[in-house]
């Protein structure tokens, strides 16, 4: 309890806080076996205000939110709603009390339409069964509110990750709740979509809805929050009002000291062109005559870090997937160190040193039935196979190295992958691909959900790799990341490169070129 001074709740002095407390957690603790995810946490949510929860990966943020929304039950402590202790035994129960949650990991049914997902479990009745027309109208209205005109009848699996996230948000909005919990709602969204979301949040606040917001995009979160709470290792270490804090305050309480993400590595000479994409076109899955990537050429040299900045739907994911061999180009060539690899399989490309860290960790990154260790070693099985057999000892070596390199919060890798926090799962995806000792690495929004410390660590790894000749293509929708890691910044828009900058560019120039 070293945090006495800053944490101490002041229950009897609501004078400074405008909104009254509607929901609070009192001394809530939660253990998973021997893991103490939460240790006696007190947390208040105030009417019509945004409370932001900060904390490192694995600090217990999602666990606390799951407890408040009835997904899991606390091991100890209680939840107080409007001054009365309550216990939710399911999300449905919590929803009845007006609490809904947007989960960190998307929980949509990919085989169903946007409309059916939004109304899943609460279908609107009509004289002849479900009133689909009304549902579709309502869906359209929600989508318009979020500025994302998606046809209600689109299948969710045909949507990009960011769009899925918007559907997830729309679903939470469609229930009129008085408390809305958002666990990293913007991790796959780009700046303009975030702006729309913030407008919606402001609107909700005006209507008296209380909001809990979790994000690793600290600056972004600061712009909407009214209160900040910091969790660390399952305990609350600080809490303050917006007017009293700044970015430095958050980082200091989150990780214990202050640091920034650094700047692009310099001082090493770059080598030959490692990967070059020549005139690549990728057809849209839904509309084959349209191209999501349109005759695009891009090359990266050994030792160079190139950032691709762009809005959602700019074609970045498709471009990288095409380079990695997941989707086939309708036109153009992928050249790795002078060799045309356009016809090679993903496995053959990985063997030649070209790897992709995919964007969607649940769908493309992790094997949910395997342990942390088995996931980490999956792409580098050959490294610990002698003859026909794998060696358990060598595998453990690979796993331990990865856990150390990307700072995964787990012990030894024997636990199921599902027991890791979202950010730690993301680190597994990154660690797995880096464990193959690649020569060219493509990262598609790799910082999705990882905390600032881990992000700095990944940047350090990339910089270190680059100084040894690793070529990096790093796709992101955060300008700040471009500026801290890239030697060269390429802005993509509608499947083409719309601008290219050196490391000395400013934030505004990049944003302007992307069409924001």
């Amino acid at each position: 309890m070293n945090s006495e001074e800053s944490v101490m709740d002041r229950p009897a002095s609501p004078s400074r806080e405008t909104g009254e407390v509607v929901l609070s957690a009192r001394n809530v603790a939660k253990s998973f076996g021997s893991v103490h995810a939460l240790k006696s946490v007190n947390f208040d949510i105030r009417r019509g205000q945004v409370t932001t929860l900060f904390g490192e990966n694995g600090a217990g943020k999602s666990t606390l939110m799951k407890i408040l929304s009835g997904v899991i039950q606390p091991s100890a402590g209680e939840i107080v709603l409007d001054g009365r202790p309550v216990s939710f035994d399911s999300t449905v129960d919590a929803q009845r009390h007006g609490i809904s949650i947007i989960h960190q990991e998307l929980s949509l049914a990919p085989n169903m339409t946007v409309r059916d997902n939004i109304f899943m479990g609460r279908e609107l009745g009509g004289p002849g069964g479900v009133n689909y027309a009304e549902e579709a109208r309502e869906t359209e209205r929600l989508m318009a509110e979020l500025d994302e005109p998606i046809d209600p009848l689109t299948l969710v699996e045909d949507l990009r990750l960011g769009q899925q996230q918007i559907v997830e948000i729309a679903r939470a909005l469609s229930v009129d709740s008085r408390i809305l919990i958002m666990d990293e709602p913007t991790s796959a969204l780009s700046a303009s979509e975030v702006e729309v979301l913030f407008r919606v949040i402001a609107d909700l606040k005006g209507r008296g809805v209380s909001i809990v917001y979790i994000s690793h995009h600290l600056e972004e979160a600061l712009t909407i929050t009214d209160h900040a709470v910091v969790l660390r290792d399952g305990a609350m270490t600080a809490r303050a009002e917006r007017s009293e804090i700044d970015l430095e305050w958050i980082v200091r309480h989150m990780v214990g000291d202050n640091f920034d993400l650094g700047s692009p590595p310099t001082g090493h000479t770059m080598g030959e062109v490692a990967l070059s994409l020549d005139n690549i076109s990728v057809a849209d899955v839904a509309v084959p005559e349209r191209s999501v990537v349109d005759r695009l050429s891009l090359s990266v040299r050994a030792g160079e870090i190139v950032c691709i900045y762009g809005l959602m739907g700019a074609g970045r994911t498709e471009l990288l997937e095409c380079a990695a061999g997941r989707v086939t180009a309708s036109d153009g060539h992928v050249m790795l160190e002078g060799e045309d690899i356009s016809r090679l399989s993903i496995a053959e490309r990985i063997e030649r040193g070209l790897v992709l860290v995919p964007e969607d960790r649940q769908r493309d990154g992790l094997v949910q039935t395997m342990t942390v260790g088995e996931n980490l070693s999956l792409a580098s099985i050959k490294a610990f196979t002698r003859g026909l057999l794998t060696s358990g000892r060598r595998e453990q070596g690979v796993v331990d190295d990865s856990i150390r390199n990307v700072h995964i919060k787990t012990d030894g890798g024997g636990a199921g992958i599902g027991s890791l926090s979202g950010g730690n799962q993301q680190k597994v995806v990154i660690g797995k691909m880096l464990a193959t000792h690649p020569r060219v690495v493509l990262l598609d929004e790799p910082s999705r959900g990882i905390d600032i410390g881990a992000k700095a660590e990944v940047f350090r790894l990339l910089a270190e790799g680059a100084s040894k000749g690793l070529a990096v293509i790093y796709s992101t929708s955060e300008v700040g990341e471009c500026l801290s890691v890239a030697h060269r910044i390429v802005v993509m828009s509608r499947g083409r490169i719309s601008a290219e900058f050196g490391a000395d560019v400013t934030r505004e120039e990049i944003m302007a070129a992307s069409g924001e």
Binding site: G33, A76, E78, I346, E351, V367, K382, L388, S419, T436
Partner: protein, 373 residues
């Protein structure tokens, strides 16, 4: 208290325990042990109950006889396990098994080449190889249909189920090959060796079954192929992006399943010293039951050979026991069905993604006692 973690990792921990002991989750939990070892305890219970009910049940000889029955669909179950681990299903194994027996019978009768006016009598080892190749061929068709042409496994293998059975009937005109003993004159004796005979007092079929099981256990736990099988079944997209040759793995598991079925067909026809075109009808379902009772998930990615072996023995010892104590075959069917459903029921408890905590004292009392805090 380790319930939640147990869901996610219990199976993988069990699976990897042979590889690296320190990675196993510690702690002793009776409920979890019973749940994980349920097939084992079921087997013990079956043996005890039938030994009480019948004096002849508990004897070495009876166990060996029952084991040689188990060997047949146990072989099918092991091939089936590989397929199920990748998230597929192979309904064609029973038919493939029948077809394999018929092909072996056909070859043992001698192949007459009218063109040259001679009849060839392939030696038994050649018969074995050709039969296994035939099994592999059926499996390859399944595998290619599933992986390359993306036909749902259920439908693709349902098709081959009919085709293989039809071919077996066509080859024999519906009749049975009875003379599989071979003839010393033609140098093709020894078919008895595959299942009928005993080695060190153990039926050869059981030894073959054991050898296949050990090979498969090794392949799953200690080779890249094994890891690929689990990864493909767990999340094929992620596996592919990690460099797992998913399509090749899919083809291979069906090929191996076909080979297992062919071996089972050889052992069965040797045991019966005859090969009929309808042998193995509905055995695919028994094979699936064995895999499921052994704790594998039909959705793929979870399961192991040890469980499948136990599952096969549970089915075999139960059905033979029912026969021995004279339960009518109608009741046998009812019992088998009940056991299968019970097993799947327990599976879904074990693999429930986020199990609700049993309301324990701390949790339920908390709101009342600390209300004033």
């Amino acid at each position: 208290m380790s319930d939640v973690q147990g869901n996610a990792s219990s199976d993988t921990a069990a699976r990897s325990s042979s590889r690296s002991a320190p990675r196993r989750a510690g702690g002793f939990d009776l409920g979890r042990m019973l749940l994980e070892g349920r097939a084992f305890f079921a087997l013990i219970a079956i043996i005890i109950i039938f030994s009480i009910l019948s004096p002849v049940y508990f004897s070495t000889n009876n166990f060996l006889t029952m084991s040689s029955h188990v060997a047949i669909f146990g072989l099918l179950s092991i091939g089936m396990l590989l397929v199920i681990l990748t998230g597929g299903i192979d309904l064609s194994v029973g038919s493939t098994m029948g077809l394999a027996g018929v092909i072996a019978g056909f070859l043992m009768q001698g192949v007459s080449l009218d063109m040259f006016g001679v009849t060839l009598y392939p030696p038994v080892w050649a018969v074995v190889i050709l039969t296994c190749v035939a099994g592999a061929f059926v499996g390859m068709i399944n595998g290619v249909l599933v992986s390359i042409f993306r036909v749902p496994a259920f439908v693709a293998t349902l098709g081959t189920l009919y085709v293989a059975r039809g071919v077996a009937l066509l080859m024999t005109d519906g009749l049975t090959y009875n003379n599989l003993g071979g003839n010393p004159e033609f140098g093709n004796t020894g078919f008895d060796w595959l299942g009928f005979n005993r080695l060190f007092g153990v039926p050869v079929g059981v030894l073959i079954f054991a050898a296949v099981a050990i090979a498969c256990m090794f392949a799953l736990n200690r080779t890249p192929f094994g890891r690929w099988v689990y990864a493909t079944g767990g999340n094929a997209r992620a596996a592919e992006l990690s460099g797992v040759p998913v399509k090749r793995v899919q083809v291979w598991v069906y090929v191996l399943s076909g080979v297992c079925a062919a071996i089972a067909g050889l052992v069965l026809s040797s045991q019966l010293t005859s090969a009929g075109p309808t042998a193995g009808t509905t055995y695919e379902l028994t094979a699936i039951a064995g895999v499921v009772i052994g704790g594998a998930a039909l959705t793929g990615g979870r399961g192991n050979v040890r469980g499948t072996l136990l599952g096969a023995f549970v089915i075999g010892f139960l059905s033979d026991g029912l026969v021995i104590i004279g339960v009518s075959s109608y009741w046998q069917t009812v019992f088998m069905g009940a056991v299968i459903v019970l097993a799947v029921l327990l599976n879904s408890i074990q693999y429930k993604p986020r199990k609700k905590r049993a309301p324990d004292a701390g949790e339920k009392k908390a709101p009342a006692s600390s209300g004033a805090a």
